[in-house]
Amino acid sequence: MGQNWLPWRSLKEKLYQLTALSIKTSFDANETKNVDVCIIGTGAGGAVVGYHLAQSGLKVLMLEKGDYYSHDQIKSETREENLQKLWKNRGAQVTRLPLLAITQGECVGGSTIINYGMCFRVPNETLQIWKSETGVEFSKDELHNEYAEVEKQIQVRKITDAGLSHEKLELGCKKLGYSGNWMYKNYIADEGGIKQNVLFSYLEKANPQNLEIYANCKATKILKNGNKISGIQAVHTNNDKTVTIDVKSTIVVLSAGTIASSELLLQNKIANSSGHVGKHLSFHPASSVIAQFDHVINGQNDLSMAFHCDEFGIVKTKKPGFMIESVFISPATFSTATPGIGEENAEFIGKYDYSAVAGVLIQDEANGNISLNWSNDAVVDYILSNADGEKLLKGLKTVAEIFFAAGATKVITGHIQKTVLESTDDLSLIDERGSGLGSFRLVSAHPQGGNRMGADKKTSIVNSYCRSHDVENLYICDASVFPTSLGVNPQLTVMTIASLAAKKILEQKTDIFG
């Protein structure tokens, strides 16, 4: 991935890139590494754990399947298709029945490189569900103290001056009396606002003497000895040549992200005495609503995401519902979110600068499942439940009302079948479309679950501090440990739970590492 992406790339690889990171992206010969901690994945969970453990003096090696792209490389890139290399399967990852597109990052920094950086704490109501359903043990105070530390590290602040496209959602909510607010984001104000990611916030701040990253290395085998992992085997493929990296470590932290973490456990038949690995998957499936106005909005100059309406979310309604978030999207995504093909679709694209966009995000049931096909690759099965379909239908209808209240002249909902509303009189059309299988264009940026945490080893994979029930020296730190969907954007909670896990490991440092 990205071997010759930029002219200086090959030279940089030869030099064993010595940035603030100790990172290696190319390998000529097999290697064996002995470290204290091996972390699989460098996203929101892995980076946080890696940082804390490296700062405590432990030797940490992080394995990353994707490539390394520095901020400067991303900033200097003018061809958007090259930026798609940062996405898993270039963004073309779908469930078995291709009704849901799943977006995840696949590069050093994981999804924090490609996401919009929105930060929410887990709603207390969701935390209560976790406690009652799987016996999650950490207290509200313990969690919120950790949130505060993470927020400081990643520089979370409330969004201001987001732009007109986002103000339309705010205006509509105000007119209809719906609760809403500007979201929080991890960014600094320099140079017009720089979104933070774990490369900035954690990895580049870690001691490079203690933390090494091997990019373009896919962990494939987990070797077990009794109740413990004895080693990890990773492969690096370059020009049809495969190099093997053998890692021996005292503990292993699996942070490959939802789907990939479960896939690796299933492939290696490990940590699954409960039979629950790959189960209880949720996605926050989202569909879009595009509103056209009679004046220029110029959303392409705005922030990517900014305002949210929580009137129908779990905090207000006390049960899993839906969130509405303002978002502005590229013409490529805009094309897939608008109806018609060819010329007809081009007419909608022609109104790009007159449009505002919002997404409806469902706090869905955890009824998805990951299994392996005969080639040992993960296959994701997920179908929107009837109840979730109804929530989404209501959500789309609500956003349409909000946008009309804000003065929209036309509203296009995220149905497969062309659904264009000219006024609130047309809202019944949304009901007519129904919520059956294949009714909506669905996308998920928040896959969660598959290795859920809980107190009972018969029904969960890890304990509340991410330690495997089955394997003594295995920790899983990513969104796959969430027992149910959060109901809000998960990045901050992944980091916080990983931070709690890291501190728990350090509390037992002498026992674990001697």
Partner: protein, 233 residues
């Protein structure tokens, strides 16, 4: 054995051999989708040889039991085996034409209005390149699903049947239809409540690629900010 019987047996051998060969490839692709197995071409070829061998033996035995004629059995079994091979080759060739079908789709979705518009040609070439990059990055099982979709969409069978639902008689592959008929055929799919998932999937790939290309941006006044801003700002 009369001459007419001989001809019937040979025609049967020809049709059944070709059909089994052709559909063996198709079933293999379905297996890849549903089971994820037999991806590599080496495995696929072994499978075709196995199926071909068994089918030829079964067919030969059936002919012999029916006719008790050794010469006819040898003759019809040979025809069967050859046509099985032709069927496999033809199906493999058709499946490998998905890029040709993709390009025909791109051209019908974004037709060239001005024959001298070189920029448009460059944009379509870029769209094709980006689409191919996306296809190559997909999981193999998802790619096989799309290939089957391309294959079916393009087939004479689908063009004939689906056009007939609108009272139009077309007996040709999609890639060989006129520009006007290609657009019309696409719209029959898109306007159908049953079939419209397919054009949505194809549009998701082609439309996404078209508007990802920086060559499409001037037309819509896009300055290339959104995606980059989402990584940076």
């Amino acid at each position: 054995m009369s001459t007419s019987d001989l001809i019937i047996y040979l025609i049967l051998s020809l049709l059944i051999g070709y059909g089994i060969g052709f559909f063996t490839v198709k079933i293999n692709h379905l297996l890849v989708i549903f089971l994820g197995k037999l991806w590599s071409s080496g495995n696929a070829q072994k499978r075709y040889i196995l199926v071909g061998g068994i089918a030829t033996i079964v067919f030969g035995m059936a002919v012999f039991l029916k006719t008790n004629d050794f010469t006819l059995t040898i003759l019809s079994t040979s025809v069967f085996a050859i046509l099985f091979l032709v069927g496999v080759k033809h199906a493999m060739h058709r499946f490998n034409q998905y890029l040709e079908i993709l390009n025909a789709l791109i051209q019908s979705l974004f037709p060239k209005k001005d024959p001298n518009d070189d920029q448009h040609d460059a944009l379509l070439a870029d769209t094709s390149k980006i689409s191919q990059q996306m296809l190559e990055s997909m999981r193999k099982s998802s790619l096989e699903s799309l290939k089957i979709l391309f294959f079916f969409f393009d087939s004479v069978f689908a063009v004939f049947l689906i056009s007939l639902t609108k009272g139009k008689f077309r007996f040709n592959r999609f890639v060989h239809l006129s520009d006007k008929d290609q657009v019309d055929y696409m719209h029959i799919w898109a306007d159908s409540e049953i079939l419209n998932l397919a054009p949505v999937a194809l549009k998701a790939l082609i439309g996404y690629s078209y508007y990802t290309s920086h060559l499409s941006w001037d037309k819509i006044g896009y300055r290339g900010e959104v995606l980059r801003r989402s990584y940076i700002n």
